[in-house]
């Protein structure tokens, strides 16, 4: 199996996350937008502004013939408006999003989780004046602005722009200077659709008394962790995964877990393996064993403290390359307990306890 297949299905960029507490007691998790996404959104917006200015320019030039005074007043106001109010206006209108941010799937939020206030939006966008527009003007039209601008003047404004552009890369939350001053941050906010559950179908087979064609033992299911499960989910949800890829993935899995039974057709094999693996891992999770990925040793009756040293995020970022790594088996002091577990993948039947207290009877209608 080539490495390119593997890379294609790996997760997209997952930046650092921030948690914002809600009054309900369940923190909301936000993924900080990456520098690349931010730059992309800005370039889209900049492109749009330039296009708008060009279109306005053409209209105004046409107007010039009829009424030159009105036309040039209009030009001044329009340029001023675009320069200072494009970002602020759209972010007020669309709850922290501009056209570019919408296309990339980003949103401005208040760092403390409060509603995004108008003054915060203005504070974060007015600083673009020194971050972009002023140095850019000096860079491009320095001669008219300051007669006899020496070359080092341009160099300084270039460095200035660079300093501001790369500022977000030097802090964890990717804050621009404007974000810093306004108390805002930019997070990922893609629209998600709820897709069908991948494990619903087999219920019918069981109901009709048919035996599952693929069976996995506990040792086999111990080979992978949550990260691998979710990569598999992504492959299965991909609508047009070519048959060769499915075959390659299932062969790879079979080799890794030491599975020797039936494995065709690949899609059914993978679906069944996904179901079994998810049932197993969810069962373990209910027991307090949240295994981030295959590089974490599986737990069997060990105290929990030992395996939670590394957070899931840190583990999943350090992906070892699978080809170089030997198969991981349980260490001798972890005796297998396959017999008791294989038939009961969901673990003991403990109903999940909701963390949230029951809602008070009156909704906060005045806040809506």
């Amino acid at each position: 199996m080539s490495d390119s297949t593997k890379v294609r299905y790996l997760e997209g960029h997952k930046g650092p996350t921030v948690e914002i507490p809600t009054p309900e007691g369940v923190p909301l998790r936000f993924t900080v937008a990456s520098g690349g996404d931010r730059a992309g959104a800005f370039l889209l917006d900049a492109f749009l502004i330039i296009m708008a200015v060009i279109v306005c320019g053409i209209v105004i030039t046409a107007l010039m013939v009829i009424d030159s005074a009105t036309a040039s007043s209009l030009a001044f106001v329009l340029i001023f408006g675009f320069r200072n109010f494009y970002f602020s206006g759209l972010e007020i209108l669309w709850r922290g999003r501009t056209v570019g941010k919408r296309m990339i799937g980003l949103q401005v939020i208040d760092r403390s989780g409060k509603p995004l206030r108008v003054e915060a939006i203005f504070a974060r966008n007015l600083t673009r004046e020194i971050e972009v527009f002023l140095p850019l003007t000096i860079l491009l039209a320095g001669d008219e602005l300051i007669p006899n601008l020496p070359p080092w003047g341009r160099l300084i404004s270039l460095l200035w722009v660079m300093g501001f552009i790369f500022f977000p890369l030097f802090n964890k939350q990717r804050l621009r200077v404007g974000d810093l001053v306004a108390g805002t941050m930019v997070v990922q906010a893609p629209r998600r659709t709820l897709l069908p559950d991948l494990v619903e179908e087999p219920a019918e087979e069981v109901a009709s008394g048919e035996m599952a064609r693929f069976a996995f033992t506990r040792e086999q299911l111990d080979s992978y962790g949550i990260y691998e499960l979710q990569v598999l989910e992504k492959i299965l949800r991909e609508p047009k995964t070519p048959a060769e890829t499915l075959l390659a993935v299932s062969e790879r899995i079979a080799k890794k877990i030491g599975y020797t039974g039936e494995m065709y057709p690949s899609l059914e094999f993978l679906s069944e393996f996904y179901r079994a693996q998810r049932a197993y891992l969810e069962g373990r999770m209910l027991m307090g064993d949240k295994r981030a990925d295959k590089s974490v040793a599986p737990q069997a009756g060990k105290p929990r403290a030992l395996q939670t040293k590394l957070s899931g995020k840190e583990r999943s970022r350090a992906k070892p390359s699978a080809s170089a790594e030997p198969l991981q088996w349980r260490t001798p002091e972890d005796p297998p307990q396959a017999a008791s577990q294989a038939g009961d993948p969901a673990g003991p039947r403990v109903p999940p306890v909701p963390v949230v207290p029951p809602a008070p009877p009156t909704p906060p209608a005045d806040e809506v």
Binding site: V181, E200, P363
Partner: protein, 335 residues
């Protein structure tokens, strides 16, 4: 596999309808506003929201279906903003801003506004004194293209012609262009003052002092030619508003810079955020002030040459701003 269904699947099947119902409501609010909901839907919204928050909490601990988790995270965030972001009508926002937030923000930063005034005055006095004692110094402070031919070699009559619009008769139509140009140009300088404060304080100081220097040199030149009364009648009607706005922007810039250097009891970041937002409030208000100033400068000053009227306009605007920033919006914010 004897298991009928996974717990996470069962969990999802039981709640999916309500998730989708909330998603529909939230999408509708995002598109058409909270007013588009019926009374029943409005009543359901917070209940459904709490349901989804609860589902999210459970799903995080029992489900490994990434799609469900991501869907719930996204839905919870969207509905959180819908439920907890009060949306006010634009009119209310503007009125509250004008009658409360803006003057209050200026009062909050009065120390820094005073500082930016002081810097301007120092610049003014320095240039005034130096130019008065030796007119050649005028060129040090005022660049040729700014002075538009008004320099020490100009005669009294030439200077007077500019101040009292005695040159070629101006058309009232081109005044509109002039006014819009002045507005955009001056407002840009003011906003620049605010933005600069966010980084180096020194630059705000420089910009303000330069403003004062030009003014001082100008005043000295006209004093020499015995035109002081006319000059101030030319400058003050719009200058009261415009200079005040520049100083407010400068003060806002100072405040942000100082908040970063001396955060006091807050963390540096928090202190910058508080000052930055207050400064943002001021910067927006100043755009309005520049607009007013440009109208006065572009139309009134070019059309009215009577000294008494010019000075009374200056006085009226001055008194208005003193009243506005001194007294308006001091009462508690309306609930």
């Amino acid at each position: 596999m004897s298991e009928i269904a996974l717990k996470s699947t069962q969990f999802r099947q039981e709640r999916e309808k309500r998730w989708r119902e909330l998603e529909r409501l939230v999408t509708q609010v995002e598109k058409r506003g909270i007013r588009s909901l019926t009374a029943d839907e409005l009543h359901d919204l917070p209940v459904l929201y709490r349901g989804v928050i609860s589902s999210l909490s459970v799903a995080r601990s029992i489900s490994l279906d990434r799609n469900v988790l991501e869907y719930l995270e996204g839905l919870a965030v969207r509905s959180y903003f819908v439920v907890y972001s009060p949306r006010r009508r634009p009119g209310e926002v503007v009125i509250e801003y004008l009658t409360h937030s803006f003057p209050q923000a200026v009062r909050d930063l009065k120390v820094w506004v005073a500082l930016s005034m002081a810097v301007t005055v120092v610049g003014f006095l320095a240039a005034y004194g130096m130019t008065l004692s030796n007119l050649d110094n005028y060129d040090l402070f005022v660049s040729p293209d700014y002075s538009a031919g008004r320099n020490p070699s100009s005669t009294r009559e030439e200077l007077r012609a500019v101040l009292m619009n005695e040159g070629e008769k101006v058309e009232s139509q081109s005044l509109g262009v002039f006014a819009t140009f002045l507005f955009t140009h001056n407002a840009q300088i003011g906003l620049l003052c605010y933005a600069l404060g966010a980084v180096p304080l020194l630059l705000v100081g420089l910009l303000l002092i330069q403003n004062g220097l030009i003014l001082g040199a100008f005043a000295a030149l006209h004093e020499q030619k015995g035109l002081s009364v006319e000059l101030w009648s030319w400058l003050l009607p719009h200058g009261v508003t415009e200079l005040l706005a520049v100083m407010l922007c400068g003060g806002a810039g100072f405040a942000v810079g100082m908040a970063a250097i001396f955060p006091g009891r807050r963390t540096r970041l928090e202190s910058m955020v508080v000052a930055g937002r207050r400064a943002g409030v001021i910067a927006i208000g100043c755009v309005g002030m520049f607009f007013i100033a440009a109208l006065i400068e572009g139309f009134f000053r070019q059309l009215v040459n009577d000294l008494t009227i010019r000075y009374s306009v200056a006085l009226i605007t001055g008194l208005f701003w003193i009243y506005y920033f001194g007294w308006v919006g001091r009462k508690a914010r309306p609930a």
